[in-house]
């Protein structure tokens, strides 16, 4: 339906409110044509401000915004041709679903016939044909969400902007809508920016993710890169669950964790206290006797504290010295013989572990 997708480029984009530290600082990013980029970060990290600047609802203090190479930084919101889906949907309460969708087409002064046809197609696209004449109040949360999506898509936007679009839906609906948004975006081949504070949403639907923190870009990469090779303790802690083990690094690069010596990862880090970050599902748990030595794996000993059965998996908490480490046991039951208080051996692959200096703030 839409014309050729276009790239969106943010060039040293900055936003300041008064004399406070910048809400968004020197942000440079490129969203490829037809790509879905996630803007991920905790509340107050500036991600919504970035989206509002892209949409033209907030003015950039400095920097440029380019669509397909054209500088649109000074263009008013109504001239940008972007589709925006709001967190609370912001549907016009005094208009029917169809009228909401037709609004943007009317603003473009299309013929009545075109407006009718395209509105109808957009309604069908989000499977709301029978509810066209309902007011937003008469629609469920998921249906309102789909009207908002159709309203943003029907204008064939050059960029689709989604601001926490799922945060007002309950958990089951959220998964369905996530799949639906992803499917529509792919089918239409539209360039999109997806703002969210929920890392699982970002991991699930985005081609690439930009993690923001305090208005600055912390890391940008594919979901797998962000998840498996976090650039900082902050990213590691924010994306997915992670264990943090305090360790000491010697001058030769070798590590020790509560008396367990680990061969060094590399010799480039400084000596001192460091944090080892390992994700729960990367840790293997064995009874000490059955543990098979494996040169590729790092190994520490601990004591099982408790186990929580979660249906498809079991989470076990193991004390390594004073530090609790959670281990995820996928699939079938872990050895039933293991009881709280039993000694266990934990191991993980060297490549599954990240080491950050203590002064890298979490």
């Amino acid at each position: 339906m839409p014309p050729m997708p276009e790239t969106l480029t943010l060039d040293r984009l900055e936003k300041r409110f008064g004399t406070a530290p910048p809400a968004v600082a020197a942000l440079s990013l490129t969203v490829g044509a037809g790509e879905m980029l996630g803007l991920l970060g905790p509340s107050g990290c500036g991600k919504t401000t970035v989206l509002r600047m892209i949409a033209g609802l907030a003015a950039a203090t400095s920097g440029r915004i380019l669509v397909g190479g054209r500088d649109i930084t000074r263009q008013p919101a109504h001239g940008r041709g972007m589709g925006l889906v709001f967190q609370n949907y912001a549907l016009f309460p005094h208009m029917s679903a169809a009228a909401n969708i037709a609004f943007g087409l009317q603003m473009r002064r299309l013929s009545a016939r075109d407006i009718r046809d395209r509105t109808r197609r957009a309604l069908d696209l989000v499977r709301l044909g029978p509810l066209a004449e309902r007011r937003p109040k008469q629609l469920s949360g998921g249906q309102q969400q789909r009207v908002a999506l159709a309203r943003a898509l029907v204008i064939e936007p050059n960029v689709l902007l989604l601001d926490e679009p799922l945060s007002n839906l309950d958990a089951t609906l959220r998964a369905d809508m996530l799949a639906e948004i992803r499917d529509l975006q792919r089918r239409l081949g539209i360039t999109a920016v997806f703002v969210t504070h929920d890392q699982s949403e970002a991991l699930a639907v985005c081609d690439r993710i930009a993690v923001l923190r305090g208005g600055r870009l912390e890391q940008v990469g594919t979901p797998r890169e962000i998840h498996d090779r976090p650039a900082s303790r902050f990213v590691a802690g924010f994306v997915g669950r992670v264990n943090q083990l305090p360790a000491h690094r010697a001058a030769d690069g070798s590590l020790s964790v509560h008396g367990h010596a680990l061969p060094g990862d590399s010799a480039d880090g400084r000596a001192g206290t460091v944090q080892l970050l390992v994700r729960p599902h990367h840790i293997r748990l064995d009874a000490p006797a059955t543990a098979v030595p494996d040169g590729d794996r790092l190994r520490v000993g601990g004591v099982l504290r408790d186990r929580i059965f979660l249906g498809d998996r079991t989470t076990l908490t193991v004390m390594v010295g004073p530090t609790p480490v959670s281990v995820e046991w996928q699939g079938s039951d872990p050895p039933a013989a293991l009881a709280p208080g039993d000694p266990v051996a934990l191991s993980w692959r060297r490549t599954d572990m990240s080491v950050f200096p203590e002064d890298d703030p979490p």
Partner: protein
């Protein structure tokens, strides 16, 4: 919430007190209705008989009829002009950081009308505006504008968040946003402001007393002069009329936005 007293005597006492005070508050308003149906020539209670003679007298009193006509016309003109001025101003107050201006615009509500009336008289005399339509409209704008702004500001601030931005993102220019989204959604508030403005104008007496003239007066001012000189039930008939207009307006206000929101926490 139950009254926490466990003693029935206490409850009864409180209930009686409330009933007496409510009667005190409402008696003068309610009593004008039976009084207006009195057959007597003086105000006495109970009337010696009932009749519609004072309504007939009112209908044939050319001064009162003309004053009523003036009041209705003035109320309509003031309502229209006031909204034309207040709606854009309220939009500006809501969209911009204009707190000092907002204070200035509501200040007339805080000062005694008698002082405002004198000030207007002093200025109007120089320009021959006393007893003229433009003078009356200007004086009533002074009184009604703060009320209109307060109701409209509340209404505009209560708009669902984001809809105006959504319209802009869909390609609507500022004028289209205002006409297609902002104003339709603020319609109940605008209607409430219109009713309140009409009512305030229709009932205004102190300032009008200063700027009305012998040939152009309003119903409350005519009533004031009448009551000042005579005490007959004709005034009761006029009062009953004013009470009815107010009552209808109050009910309409309540339907539209809720009375408490319309009149706010105080101020006169």
């Amino acid at each position: 919430m139950p009254y926490p007293t466990t003693h029935w005597a206490g409850r009864l006492g409180f209930g009686l007190l409330v009933a007496v005070l409510a009667a005190y508050l409402l008696a003068p308003v309610i009593l004008v209705f039976p009084m207006s149906l009195s057959a007597d020539t003086a105000l006495s209670w109970p009337p010696s008989g009932w009749s519609l003679r004072w309504y007939a007298a009112l209908a044939s009193d050319r001064g009162m009829v003309e004053a009523l006509r003036n009041s209705l016309l003035l109320g309509a003109v003031v309502t229209a002009v006031c909204l034309l001025i207040a709606v854009p101003a309220a939009v500006a107050l809501v969209r911009g950081r204009l707190a000092p201006l907002a204070l200035l615009l509501t200040l007339p509500l805080l000062l005694p009308s008698i002082v405002l009336g004198l000030g207007l008289l002093i200025v109007f005399v120089r320009f021959g505006l006393v007893g003229s339509w433009p003078g009356l409209v200007a004086a009533h704008l002074l009184v009604t504008l703060p009320y209109a702004l307060r109701v409209l500001e509340t209404a505009l601030r209560a708009l669902p968040p984001g809809v105006e931005e959504a319209a802009a993102s869909l390609g609507a220019r500022p004028l289209a946003v205002t006409l297609r989204v902002t104003l339709p959604l603020a319609a109940p508030g605008i209607a409430a402001a219109a009713i309140l403005v009409f009512l305030v104008s229709f009932d205004e007496v102190v300032i009008t007393l200063f700027v009305a003239g012998p040939h152009l007066t309003t119903l409350p001012v005519a009533l004031y002069h009448h009551v000042e000189s005579r005490t007959d039930p004709l005034a009761a008939a006029v009062s009953a009329l004013l009470v009815l207009v107010t009552l209808v307006s109050v009910l309409a206000l309540e339907r539209l936005v809720g009375l408490r929101r319309a009149v706010g926490g105080g101020g006169s």
